[in-house]
Symmetry: C2
Subunit: 378 residues, 2 copies
């Protein structure tokens, strides 16, 4: 069993935007024990819709374990018998860490869109305070996929002496035009929903329709054409009947894939805050290491960590090329980096799914010392 | 100058669903002249958001010509000095042909979603009535891209003695799971908009927000990652300023690509009916020639036309493989078919864009006699 805890930071936090919060709360979980040498800590960074609960169960009655439980645990690829694993809900999130749905002590109401703008940089610097609080003064590794991978890269840039290994998967050094475009459609679906009320919706209300639409669309970008064909194809699910029998022509659910997407949308609105969705997608949009540091080589100049980047062939949100470019640029900048490309048809979400190949790569990277390869052929 | 005309069909029309309309109006345009031998007619079939105005201008003041004007006209690849070209707004559409926004004579109000369900089959059979009315008893060619390509294929199946050539581009013989998924998100955006009012919105109202969201999302699927990078990249368009100057953190438009998408959404709602969008996307979803005829070979068994299929390398809505499969299956069924694959980074919309390679292929196909090649290398 694992129990989420809250780190309450009472030192003012200045966001990249210049805005300041007097402090913040960060919800996190830990697995395993920090050893005496304090050199076995691993930080896990979650993606857009993830949270701090990456492994284990909160109670025996839990239907599902944490979102990366097949990767993280006793004897697993990220072995909690050996490593002290930490995962925190990101700043701006809605699973216990301070974000737009938190109460602003100055007004007694939710911040809404008065919350400071959040960047990946802010997420990393706020996580650093948590690690300081936990007495962690170096990281064996930072691991993350998608937005978590962006954080992992930035960890190695902002705190080069702190991070020994970076494992970034299904990610990018620069959010591209198509990804921004999908984020913008999701935001418009939310902000144009009348229930958004300029961000000032009540805690029990909000733009549920818009958020569900945003999630349905985004979910398509996490899969692949091939995986959707395999899972659903054109299988029907006829729910409407007429006096003459089943009605094959209707705007109700007719195909399995429609039923699946509607379920994804509906379950998301019960666990995610619409304003957090706006903030975090904007944080993604603003992520561009080359622009922030002049060039990607310059961004990586301070890095001391050994980096492993993993791309997935069917990921069309952050395609293999964008992952490969990270490793190649690190190598050009004289850093220790390797790249593995996993052949899979499961799309962007591959990094979240069970994969013995991925386990083998992760375990090898965490356990080996100073060895690097560029491997395109797994 | 070209003038749209209305064909008023007063014979009852039975839809594939079994529903019947006492008649329908079909708006169309023609270019060039039907020759004495009546053997120079070409039918153009439009895509989801297209209409009958595929070439020329309605008046000298027109800002833009028809949507395929660079392909169709005097001396162009589809040479209207030589061919008699016909293009009609599809049944279920909203540009003059009878559809959900038309007045139901039985009630004096718009049909809304009481309109019969429309299939690609219905679109083709209703076009056939127009051609009969125009005295056209054979087609030199049927040409269409995307949904227009589906119609073109079905023309050759339903009226084998009528069609001598089929030119289908950026299309598929079977709407796949990912394409259905995107259509469903668009429909949900429309139907969950309170202004949809179960399809009974007034002519001057309707789910404008939902329709704009649907269009923004769909528009991304018509482009490609590479073309969006080239056109927009991460170029900023800062519209919000604070007392301290430009605000780089905002949910307003910040990137060019956002501005472009919002424009696409806004301009669409001024020319398209939301219920038509529901009907036509459903028609796409239901398109599956293999399922309708037992197998794709069996579907193509009656075909007598020579067929050219054109795929575009960066089209991820109806990818090259799906286009190639059409030509290969026609060949397996003993038909005359060829396939050309154009290397372009402009995505699905490539078929609508200027391309000397495409012009050369189209002209060659329309003017040659009984010659066929399988060409993957253009």
């Amino acid at each position: 069993m694992v129990t989420p805890r809250d780190f309450v930071c009472t030192t003012p936090f200045t966001f990249k935007s210049g805005q300041v919060l007097p402090g913040f709360t960060m919800r996190y979980e830990t697995y395993g024990q920090l050893n005496r040498a304090r050199d076995n800590a691993i930080l896990i960074c979650h993606a857009l819709s993830g949270d701090h609960h990456c492994a284990g169960r909160h109670s025996a009655a839990d239907r599902k374990p944490g979102w990366w439980d097949h990767l993280i645990g006793p004897g697993r690829a990220v072995d909690t018998d050996r490593f002290y694993v930490i995962c925190a809900n990101c700043l701006g999130g809605c699973s216990g860490t301070t974000g737009p749905s938190s109460i602003d002590p100055a007004t007694g109401k939710s911040y809404g869109i008065a919350f400071p703008f959040v960047t990946i940089n802010d997420m990393v610097r706020s996580q650093k305070r948590l690690l300081d609080h936990l007495g962690v003064d170096q990281l064996h590794a930072v691991i993350g996929g998608s937005m978590g991978g962006m954080q992992a890269l930035l960890w190695a840039i902002l705190y080069p002496n702190f991070v020994r290994r970076v494992l970034a998967m299904a990610t990018t050094a620069r959010e591209g035009a198509q990804a921004i475009a999908f984020n913008e459609v999701g935001r418009q679906a939310i902000m144009q929903d009348p229930a958004w009320e300029q961000g000032n919706y009540p805690a029990d209300g909000g733009p549920r329709v818009g958020l569900a639409i945003a999630r349905m669309m985004a979910h398509i970008t996490y899969l692949s054409d091939a995986s959707m064909e395999r899972k659903f194809g054109r299988r029907k699910r006829v729910t409407t009947t007429t006096a003459h029998g089943e009605n094959p022509y209707s705007f109700d659910i007719q195909f399995e894939v429609e039923s699946y997407l509607r379920y994804q949308g509906q379950s998301f609105i019960n666990r995610f805050d619409a304003n957090s969705y706006l903030y975090i997608t904007r944080a993604l949009d603003h992520f561009d290491l080359a622009h922030a540091y002049g060039s990607l080589e310059q961004a990586f100049a301070p890095v001391q960590a050994e980096t492993l980047v993993v791309g997935f062939t069917s990921d069309w949100l952050f395609p293999p090329e964008q992952n490969r470019e990270i490793a190649l640029t690190l190598l050009r900048a004289g850093k220790r980096a390797s790249y593995a490309e996993l052949a899979t048809d499961r799309g962007h979400d591959s990094f979240l799914l069970e994969s013995p190949d991925l386990y083998r790569i992760v375990r090898g990277f965490l356990e080996r010392e100073h060895e690097f390869v560029l491997d395109f052929s797994i």
